[in-house]
Symmetry: C2
Subunit: 190 residues, 2 copies
DNA sequence: ATACAATCTAAACAATGATTAGATTGGAGC
DNA sequence: GCTCCAATCTAATCATTGTTTAGATTGTAT
């Protein structure tokens, strides 16, 4: 797995072959199949580990935000997600493109996914009670919108839709302000 | 190309091999390489054709919308995009995942992409002049946000992030209302 | 009828995902 | 210390795939 993570991080998923992993680990070409039933299973294991790091980064970003402002916390979640995706584009690709991995068979991946989504619901319910959230908005709808918005930004960057960006400061700036405006528009006052 | 389109439409991109295309076309395995220098070149040609259909669908959807309301027209663009993507998920995948195709070498793909983006700018400038657009919003930013939002919804659906949906009515409903709310929030009055 | 360009076939090559049979290893229990 | 067993490895092999090449076939313009 460490060998696979190395190759994915340095050369991308598309350059990853089981044989390259075996070579990097100093082992014969068939050896990895003793531990993973297929290439997809290997990638799923890598995805589980990466998803753990993503979830940790997201929840830590939220924990560092203003405790009294649930929508700021929601924004922090989105920001943490974006920063992690752009700092780890190839691993993000493994997590999100569900034709490389077997998402349905991994309860770990599903649980991590649900953890973030549940936290979003909690924060929006909080914002509803404090009156921060615009009263005409439906929480279900907003969760979907936030996920799509952040996922779209991250995926566009990773998919190469922003060729002018040099995956370091620019995306952080442009996506940061876009997300800021998006969250601002959810507020009762804004 | 027709054989390739058939296979992509019925079995998905991942099941597409040059040999399968050749077989479907009733031709020897090496024959396709006389017309396309590589599998990537074949897929790029398929993507150009699909992108033409997407652009046409989007601009027609816009043309059918209320001519006096630029933001309704912007919404129609997004809606047309989403409907096409969900009706043609595998072709949408070919267009958007730029590791399967050589986007940089196809002026056709780039032009079609720019055509839609330019139209969005025009509509938002119009909305600015008529006073429909909230005055504190920057147009650059909104174009980016709209693209990310719609792309995110389409990609999440195609990437299998909505397993509970049966790619027919539900996504249309959920994404329709989400997009409606999103556009509503851009208005000076909303 | 000839020449030429386009297209095809047939055969081969290297890389890859995957399987299998058998060797090696290292520790648990007597 | 010896035996047994499970885990892991190697080596060989297979089918599939992207790609190339040499040569055959075909249609068309002159």
């Amino acid at each position: 797995m460490a060998a696979a993570v190395d190759i994915i991080g340095s050369q991308g998923v598309e350059r990853l072959s089981v044989r390259a992993v075996a070579k990097q680990a100093g082992v014969s070409p068939g050896a990895p199949f003793q531990h993973f039933s297929s290439k997809e299973a290997l990638l799923t294991a890598v995805a589980e580990q990466a998803m753990g790091r993503l979830t940790k980064a997201v929840l830590e970003a939220e924990a560092a935000a203003d405790p009294t402002d649930p929508l700021k916390r929601l924004e922090a979640i989105g920001l943490g997600y974006l920063q992690w995706a752009m700092a780890n584009p190839t691993h993000f690709e493994v997590i999100s493109s569900r034709k490389l991995i077997d998402f349905a068979s991994s309860t770990s991946l599903q649980e991590q996914n649900e953890a973030i989504r549940t936290r979003m619901f909690q924060l929006l319910n909080e914002a509803r009670q404090t009156g921060d959230l615009a009263p005409d908005l439906q929480i279900d709808n907003i969760v979907l919108s936030c996920r799509a918005f952040v996922y779209g930004l991250a995926r566009m960057a990773v998919d190469g839709h922003f060729p002018e960006w040099h995956m370091s400061d620019e995306p952080a700036n442009a996506t940061r302000t876009a997300l800021g405006v998006f969250i601002q528009r959810l507020r009762a006052s804004g």
